[in-house]
Every structure is written in structure tokens, then in C-alpha cells.
């Protein structure tokens, strides 16, 4: 039994499966986060009440966060392992290498956009999660931050990076699950573009909105 489990997760396809499963979970989380963000358009009171309500949902809130952290760490760890294994798989690079088709900006930059997203997430958590919200409520902190165009620009750029990461990741996870069909793959690719745009624009627009109303 142990052999099966070890091989399932240590083989090259197994590692890709872990990337795909955790990636799908993270996209799911982003969808929830995006939905939560829409409360900000309802105003300060609504958003602060929503945030308070969310944090009061114990023990689910803690369990969810631990789960999310684990998923995130697995995605990062396996990603790093894959990156170095793939680097090692061709010790001598080509003098000239051309893309005969297939490779996209998103697919080529996956490890790099991944690292940038990690840096962004750490910064984002320090900015809005691990802060004292007892004196100044979260909405007011958010509004103050995004009154600064520098922060807005930084967040918008980060969202473009996330969008590129998802532009390859969404389609790719279906392929890793073994879902590739002449009828459905074009649909999945189109859906991937929609998800990319919804997440990129959906998250990117809130800081811009807060800057405008500030």
C-alpha cells in the first residue's frame, strides 16, 4: 500500500497531479475571495461587518486557514522541486531555441510569476491580515492604502501577474487530470480565458475603485 501512495505522489505525473489539485483549490479560494471583495462596493459598514462575521466563524475559520496554508505550501514546494528538476533535465542549453508553437507567455513564465505571486501574497498578508483591526477597521485601512496611487499600481501589476499564471494553470490542470477531448478542450481553454480575465480584472478593479472614490 505504501508503495502506491509514495509512487502516486513522487513520480513526475504524481507531482503534476499535486500541482493541479492544489492549483484548482487556490483558484477556488480566489473565487471566494473575489466574491467577498464585492462587499467593499456596498460601503464601509457592510464590508467591516462581513469581515467580522467571517472571523467569528470559529472553528471553521481556523480550519479553513490551516487547510489553505497547507495547500499553498504544497503548491509552492512541488513547484520549486519541479523547477529545479526541469532545470537539471537539460544541463547544456541550446545556442538557439525557437518555439515551433504551443508555448505561451504564461506557460513560459510559470515559475517566475509563481515566485512574484508568493512575494505579493506575503506582502498582502502583512498589509491586511496580520494587522491590528481593533482601532482602525479593515475597510478604512484598505481605503487609506489605496488612496495612494503607488499601492494601486502595485496591486494592479500583481493582478496582471496572477492572471498570466492562471492563463496557463487553468487549462493545464485539466490536461494533468487527463481531461482532453476534441469537443471540450477548446471550451476549457475559452473558460480559462474567462477565469483569467474575471480574476485579473475583478481583483484589479477594487484598488482602482477605492482610489477614485478617495
Amino acid at each position: 500500500m505504501n508503495g502506491y501512495i509514495t509512487f502516486l505522489f513522487s513520480s513526475s505525473i504524481g507531482k503534476k497531479l499535486l500541482m493541479a489539485v492544489t492549483g484548482l483549490c487556490l483558484i477556488g479560494f480566489l473565487a471566494m475571495h473575489l466574491l467577498g471583495n464585492t462587499m467593499a462596493y456596498a460601503g464601509a459598514t457592510a464590508f467591516n461587518d462581513y469581515a467580522k462575521k467571517l472571523h467569528s466563524l470559529e472553528p471553521y475559520f481556523t480550519v479553513f486557514n490551516i487547510g489553505l496554508l497547507t495547500i499553498g505550501l504544497v503548491h509552492i514546494l512541488i513547484g520549486v522541486i519541479l523547477f529545479f528538476e526541469n532545470l537539471r533535465a537539460r544541463p547544456r542549453k541550446y545556442e538557439v531555441f525557437k518555439n515551433p508553437g504551443g508555448m505561451t507567455f504564461g506557460s513560459r513564465t510559470m515559475p517566475y510569476t509563481g515566485i512574484l505571486i508568493l512575494i505579493f501574497v506575503i506582502m498582502h498578508l502583512l498589509k491586511f491580515t496580520f494587522v491590528d483591526k481593533s482601532v482602525i477597521p479593515i475597510y478604512q485601512q484598505m481605503a487609506a492604502t489605496f488612496a495612494n496611487p503607488g499601492w494601486v499600481l502595485m496591486y494592479v501589476v500583481a493582478m496582471v501577474i496572477v492572471a498570466f499564471h492562471i492563463s496557463h494553470g487553468f487549462w493545464s490542470l485539466f490536461q494533468t487530470f487527463g481531461i482532453n477531448h476534441p469537443r471540450y478542450t477548446p471550451l476549457i481553454m475559452r473558460l480559462g480565458l474567462v477565469v483569467t480575465l474575471v480574476i485579473g480584472i475583478g481583483f484589479g478593479i477594487l484598488p482602482v475603485y477605492l482610489l477614485i472614490i478617495a
Partner: protein
């Protein structure tokens, strides 16, 4: 695309005396190349001249020279088998190049492929993967009846598309991760689709994957470059099937190794 009968080109070609040699690029001007000749014939033409000049000819793998054996395979201007779609380098013709072009010629590069000499690489890891499970075990005897085992026409077509793989290894050469997934998936697919191959499907996929990983190939990240570079245009739908077969086998199948 050249309209001349002959062209003058410059080759920037990888020279390496043996597996242990560090190797280097050599720039060789080649005059009066017949545009009707194939890329390999151009190399023959150059080698004859090199031999007459008492120089070492450029080593490269080749055999059938009609795109069916999978022996030839070199990087031409950064693409395995050159820029033609669905063709091997022996089918690439010099009329595709212009007078005065500089053509960069490199061997297929991957940790799993050792350069033997110049453009010739050892692709035996692909054979090792086949030995690990790329076959069906049958009792020999009289030929089976034609329609004893029914096979749906579309399944046999799809299996044939996978079996079109000539094992040239261009997928590995083109993959940014030097992954052999397209090759292995084609070999897994051609059996997985047919009833004769189903019997050993679980052990086959696990053994072949284990061997593939052990040979030092990279991991597939779905760049899809392999599909574009494949001279037989093998589709990555076979990689999806390989992934499916793996999931099925590792969840429900028998383990082939060390039980």
C-alpha cells in the same frame, strides 16, 4: 524559400569528439549547395569535401531518409528536424533556405541524451522505457482469427495515430523541460486503446513512468511544444490519456515493482 538552383550558406555546427569532450561550435561555409538536396544530403556533400581536405566529417544519425525510421534528428535553427511541419530532418530540403543564410545545427540536448559525437546522440533511454512495458505479452502460435477480438474503428484509428510515433525523440529535444511525456504517452496510448493492450495496462503505465523518471527526463508542464515539433504530429491528447491511465493504475492497479 530559395528560387536559385544553388545557394551558399554558412553552417554553425556543433563539433564534439566524444562523450567526454566539452565540444564547441564550428563555423563552416558551404558553397554551391543544390537546393533540390535534402538537409542530410547537404551534410553528405559537406562531409565529402571535409574528407578530401583531410578533416573529420560531421557525424549525424540517419537511416531510411524518407521520414519513417526515426533515426535522424538534429536541431536546425533551434527547432528539432527544422521548421517544416510534420517532417523529419531528412525530409527538410535546402530550397527552404535562402542564399547567404547562417544555419545553426545542434544535437538534441537533454540530460538523458548523451552526445556520442558531433550531432549524434544516444537515445537508448527511449528504448529502456519501451523495454519497461511498451509491449504486449502474447502466446505465440497460429495467427489469431481476423475478427476474433472486435475493435471499434475510431479506437483503432486513434491507436494508429499514437503508433505513428517513430521514436525520434524530437519531443524531448523541443521540450523546455526535456520531458519525454509525448513519446511515452504515445506508446502507452497505442496499447491502452486496444483490447489486446488492456490486460497489462496498469503495470505497463507504472513501469514505463518509473523508467522514464529514472532516465532523468524532465517533468511535463504542458507547454505543448512537443506536439508542434513532432514530425508525426502526435497529439498531446495522448499525454492526457497517459495521465488518466496513471491515475487509474496507481489508485486501483497492481504495483509492478518490489511488492
Amino acid at each position: 524559400m530559395s528560387e536559385h538552383e544553388t545557394i551558399n550558406i554558412t553552417l554553425k555546427v556543433w563539433r564534439q569528439n566524444g562523450p567526454e569532450d566539452s565540444g564547441r561550435f564550428e563555423t563552416i561555409p558551404v558553397a554551391d549547395v543544390d537546393t533540390h538536396s535534402s538537409f542530410l544530403e547537404m551534410l553528405d556533400f559537406l562531409n565529402e569535401k571535409l574528407i578530401l581536405e583531410d578533416k573529420e566529417p560531421i557525424e549525424f544519425d540517419n537511416d531510411c531518409r524518407e521520414g519513417i525510421c526515426g533515426t535522424c534528428g538534429i536541431m536546425v535553427n533551434g527547432i528539432p528536424h527544422g521548421h517544416g511541419k510534420g517532417m523529419t530532418v531528412c525530409q527538410l530540403h535546402m530550397r527552404e533556405f535562402d542564399d547567404g543564410d547562417t544555419i545553426v545545427v545542434e544535437p538534441f540536448r537533454a540530460r538523458a541524451y548523451k552526445v556520442i559525437q558531433d550531432l549524434m546522440v544516444d537515445r537508448s533511454p527511449l528504448e529502456k522505457i519501451i523495454q519497461a512495458g511498451g509491449y504486449i505479452s502474447v502466446n505465440t502460435g497460429g495467427a489469431p482469427d481476423g475478427n476474433a477480438v472486435p475493435v471499434a474503428q475510431e479506437k483503432s484509428e486513434e491507436a494508429m495515430d499514437a503508433a505513428a510515433c517513430i521514436g525520434c525523440g524530437a519531443c524531448v529535444a523541443s521540450c523546455p523541460n526535456a520531458s519525454a511525456m509525448l513519446f511515452v504517452s504515445a506508446k502507452v496510448s497505442q496499447f491502452a486503446l486496444l483490447p489486446q493492450g488492456r490486460a497489462e495496462a496498469n503495470t505497463r503505465v507504472l513501469s514505463m513512468l518509473q523508467e522514464m523518471d529514472a532516465c532523468g527526463f524532465g517533468n511535463c508542464t504542458n507547454h505543448r511544444v512537443c506536439e508542434a515539433a513532432c514530425p508525426k504530429e502526435v497529439s498531446i491528447t495522448h499525454i492526457a490519456r497517459f495521465n488518466r491511465e496513471f491515475l487509474k493504475a496507481s489508485l486501483f492497479g497492481r504495483m509492478p515493482m518490489g511488492e
